[in-house]
């Protein structure tokens, strides 16, 4: 390793703002109170009629009023993914105490992940095209059919002009965005990068996920989201947007902001898996965790908490638990493991919301419970029932996707 290399790594990347539009609340106060209290946002879906489906539950954002965050002029051009992202980005900037000015706006960027984007808008556009022909399609819909619309809209509404990118990779879309954003701060291409993920719930997805046999209750039993539980029987869909604000440690110090935590490193990996199947071999997860630990220059024993990817699905939860059992085997002090998807459902690019939650966990030294978990599939230190209070020095955010893609990020306390 040469000197330049160390300089690059030496840039300490910290989280100084969180913003979220989630089924458990909009903005951090309500979100963190309800999350730590073990509340569950899963309920009967109100946005559309589910009577023709076997499943009826979802975690919906029901009290989001975009007008409170977005100018009327820009709002009318936005679909729901864009308005949620713009609102979350505004909340994250506010939380970080950053005001966009002529002087800083070229150094503020956004890197967003979305698994499915605004497929609804594409379906609507395609519907008119196929039913009525090319002359009848609505050009107003077009800008929202591209997946980079949310990041574009957020930049227009909020006025920042730095690095702007949208990535997608199914269930690791947001984690991939977070990792890229960390690199951009390390590279020095921006002073502040907003990063996270957005996905929304719609009847079309619900239908598709039903057909792909993903939704609870797959066994015909009781419909519920039970991450890591023996009785789990499929996922429950969620939605929302979570965005964190990253900057360098020096920048936060200069501004006099106490960061929530540091993102110390990350690991990226994949394993050969059919594009629509969840991986059933823990090898890819183990390899990616080891890359993340190496990148963060820590050991497995330094990890106190894991924000898991488990969503109540048969294959994912089993393979993830098995991977942790192997990685942390023999350690006297096992890390606490939680999956907040028990409360929030699976929103695919959930990594944004989970990154916000983890940052708040690091700040308050509290790990929220895995809602729904009663009979764990393995004897690991799952947090179930009630939250746990414990000093967290290092924690990992897990990203696992069908198709065999993995992104693990290491969050570290930086108040020491």
């Amino acid at each position: 390793m040469d000197k330049n290399r160390r300089t690059h790594k030496a840039t300490k990347v910290v989280v100084t703002g969180v913003g979220m539009v989630t089924p458990l609340g909009i903005g951090k106060e309500e979100f963190v109170r309800r999350l730590f209290a073990g509340e569950c946002a899963i309920d009967v879906i109100k946005a559309f009629d589910t009577s023709s489906f076997q499943s009826h539950l979802g975690a919906e954002v029901t009290d989001f009023v975009p007008r409170g965050f977005i100018s009327v002029k820009n709002l009318r051009r936005m679909d729901r993914t864009s308005s949620m992202s713009t609102a979350a980005a505004r909340l994250a900037l506010d939380d970080a105490g950053i005001y966009i000015t002529e002087g800083n706006r070229d150094r503020v960027g956004i890197i967003l992940g979305t698994s499915f984007g605004a497929t609804d808008v594409t379906v609507q556009f395609a519907g008119t095209l196929l039913a009525r022909g090319p002359a009848f399609v609505n050009p107003i819909l077009v800008p929202n059919t591209v997946m980079n619309a949310p990041a574009g809209h957020a930049s227009i509404e909020l006025g920042f002009r730095g690095v702007n990118t949208t990535v997608t990779h199914f269930a690791v879309s947001a984690e991939t965005a977070l990792a890229y954003a960390v690199e951009e701060i390390r590279r020095g291409t921006a002073d502040f990068v907003l990063t996270g993920g957005v996905d929304i719930l719609s009847k079309f997805y619900y239908e598709a996920l039903t057909r792909f046999r993903s939704l609870s209750p797959l066994d015909g039993g009781k419909e519920a989201c039970l991450p890591f539980d023996e009785d789990r029987n499929g996922i429950i869909v969620g939605e929302g947007c979570g965005i964190i604000c990253l900057e360098s440690w020096e920048s936060a110090l200069t501004r006099g902001r106490q960061p929530y935590c540091e993102i110390k490193g990350f690991g990226l990996g994949s394993s050969p898996t059919s594009p629509t199947a969840w991986p059933d071999d823990p090898a890819g997860i183990k390899q990616t965790i080891s890359r993340a630990l190496q990148n963060a220059e820590i050991k497995a024993r330094d990890i106190q908490a894991i924000y898991a990817a488990a969503n109540g699905g048969k294959v994912l939860d089993a393979v993830e638990a098995e991977a942790y059992a192997q990685v942390f085997s023999g350690l006297k002090k096992q890390p606490l493991i939680t999956s907040i998807k028990g409360a929030l459902g699976e929103s695919f690019s959930s990594g944004g919301i989970r990154a916000c939650a983890l940052a708040l966990s690091m700040e308050k030294n509290i790990v929220p419970p895995t809602v729904g978990l009663v009979k764990p599939i393995k004897s690991l230190e799952f947090v179930a029932g009630d939250k746990r209070e414990m000093r967290i020095n290092n924690a990992i955010l897990a990203g696992i996707s069908f198709g065999g893609t993995y992104v693990y990020l290491v969050f570290a306390n930086c108040d020491k």
């Binding site: 040469d2 090319p134 077009v142 909020l158 990779h169 050969p272």
Partner: protein, 416 residues
Amino acid sequence: MNKSKRIVITGLGTLNAIANNIPEFVQALQEGFCGIEAIDLFDTTGFRSKNGGQVKNFNVRDYIPQDYSIKRMSRADMLSCAATLEALRDAGLYPLPDLIKEKMGVAVGGGSGGLWEAENFYGEMLKKGVRKARFSKLSSVYCASSADRIASSLGLMGPKTTFMTACSAGATAIGYARDLIVNDYASVMIAGGVEPMCRITYAAFNALKSVDPDVCRPFDKDRNGLSLGEAAAIMVLEPLDVALNRGAKIYGEILGYGVTCDSFHMTAPDEQASGAVRSMRAALKDSGLSIDNIDYINAHGTATAVNDVMETKAIKEVFGKRAYLIPVSSTKSMHAHTLGAAGALEGIVCVLSLQNGFIPPTINYRDEDPLCDLDYVTDGVRYTLLRTALSNSFAFGGNNTTIIFGQYAEGGVGNG
């Protein structure tokens, strides 16, 4: 940034409107061949335009061996897999040695993904109702599917990412892939972009009235919009020392890239050209080059009224008087605008120009526009030695990416 680690291009692969492989592409670029003609992939009745840059004679099994499953692959998946195999063979890496797979990854810029196949689904949904529609047709609709197919069929275990910044996605993917190797997250990367021709995308650009009914005429006084095309464009990237050690053919080097945002309008470029100016400057800064080092500019040059004036203005602002001395061409006049693949395809154009010592022309040009007064290479190919080439990609959402390629020379650009 670790400037001492140089990343080179050792393999190329493409299918596009003017070539089904790299040798054909070199020839077509030099001949100034126009691949924009009547589309036969779908019925264009009712559209403002009938033309497009379609890949011709694509018999998938001529490109992908029989033992390689293409079940449920979209046209985008097949085109990208075919280009990947060409690039790997070109790099002398096919079949892939097992040792390389562990840290070899994929970064792809996507666009329409499996929308062409999904259209059949939407049609069924409209005709027979959602209950009877075959959702399996949607299994490759999302763009991340292409990277998953490439990685899983080759058995890769490195990072996997898909960029969705519309027309700048391919360029951003290449820049990002370079960074992953520089910072040791990957040892070798397959990077590029893929965009299939599809009726929904075609309808979208027609609805926006941004397509030329005839063929696109970049920088011409009477230019009247873009021509849509399709392509897969893939590069193999690896560290210089690794390439030298294994005696690989070296096409060129990635010297730098920059990503910025207009924060102006979702579909219209900022006429002040601020985003484009900043992205070229960011790429120059990243590469450590001065304006005097740039020998050729491969323009975004879509042939829309606004883009070409804006880009010309941006080039003049960045390069000052030197702008008039640098040849600028838009090869979209030949292979059409390939959206998500454009940045990667035009990256390949730059690399081939550097390696073979030629400047590809802007074809279809007739009359001078007083607002577009640079040297657009409208008089046919020029054979000349080039050291560096800069490629611009500007996208919906105000996403701009500029990437700079250099001819490989032992001591770096300027010392060769």
